[in-house]
């Protein structure tokens, strides 16, 4: 069966690059949508972490982006699609501790180089692709039911 047929709900949110005063609001909205669905705590918790890190990276590095949430019977999927500088070396960017965050970003407590690593850790499936000077695309899938049953 085509996966699209299974979509229960889809939401999309715009994110503005550089706007730290609104940072986190999209993740907060997505979390409250998931909570209302009565999904397991662990699924909500992990979704909030991966969504927040993706949101902050758009605010920190990109011009603008869109985060979308897709709920299916067995999974929650969060996609982050941005227009921005892209990531020249994804393998390097994925390493814990690697960061190009500027001083302003670091002063706020971001820029530990942990975000992408955390996204990978807390997703069940994680895809990342990027094109320099175009943008970055992340797709995180979290299973809402145990994989083998």
């Amino acid at each position: 069966m085509c996966a699209a047929e299974n979509i229960l709900e889809k939401h999309s949110f715009d994110i503005e690059g550089g706007n730290f005063s609104n940072a986190g609001t999209v993740s907060t909205k997505i979390k409250s949508i998931l909570k209302q669905k009565n999904l397991p705590d662990d699924v909500v918790r992990r979704s909030a972490i991966v969504c927040y890190e993706a949101e902050i990276n758009i605010v920190s590095y990109a011009k603008k982006g869109v985060i979308s949430l897709t709920i299916r019977p067995n999974s929650v999927q969060i996609e982050a699609d941005d227009e921005g500088p892209g990531i020249p070396n994804i393998e390097l960017a994925m390493q814990q501790g690697y960061s190009t965050a500027n001083q302003q970003i670091r002063e706020m407590g971001f820029g530990a180089g942990m975000g992408l690593h955390n996204i990978k850790t807390y997703s069940d499936i994680f895809d990342i692709s990027s094109e320099v000077d175009k943008g970055t695309f992340l797709k995180m899938t979290i299973h809402t039911q145990p994989a083998k049953d």
Binding site: A23, G24, S27, T28, K31, M114
Partner: protein, 113 residues
């Protein structure tokens, strides 16, 4: 143990959400790197930090922390305070440094169990 009890015991000053001081503290996390706190803290934690920027409110809300304590007499930024009032997140201030404050709260929570 709720925030009010910890505040009284350790002479913390309350900066926001006075009506939420009965939030129960089930644990704690100390850290200034936001992605570390995001990944490793838990709901019900009291978050001990020296970050004063408004992003701390978003994190405390998302992670369902019981509240935030700023160390070394750091004061929340103006927009942090506004946001904390909106979201009803308790922010408190301690004169102690992170090491000492964490140790004291750890002991209070351990005794309370």
């Amino acid at each position: 143990m709720d925030i009010a009890a910890i505040a009284k015991e350790l002479n913390l000053e309350i900066r926001s959400a006075r009506d939420r001081l009965e939030n129960i503290v089930t644990g704690g996390y100390t850290g200034d790197l936001l992605s570390d706190v995001m990944a490793n803290s838990h709901a019900g934690d009291i978050w001990i930090t020296r970050q004063v920027h408004q992003n701390i409110v978003a994190i405390a809300t998302l992670k369902e922390h019981a509240g935030i304590i700023l160390v070394n007499s750091c004061e929340p930024a103006k927009d942090t305070l506004e946001r904390a009032k909106q979201e009803n997140v308790p922010i408190l201030v301690s004169r102690l440094g992170a090491f000492e404050l964490t140790g004291k709260i750890y002991n209070l929570l351990a005794k309370d169990k």
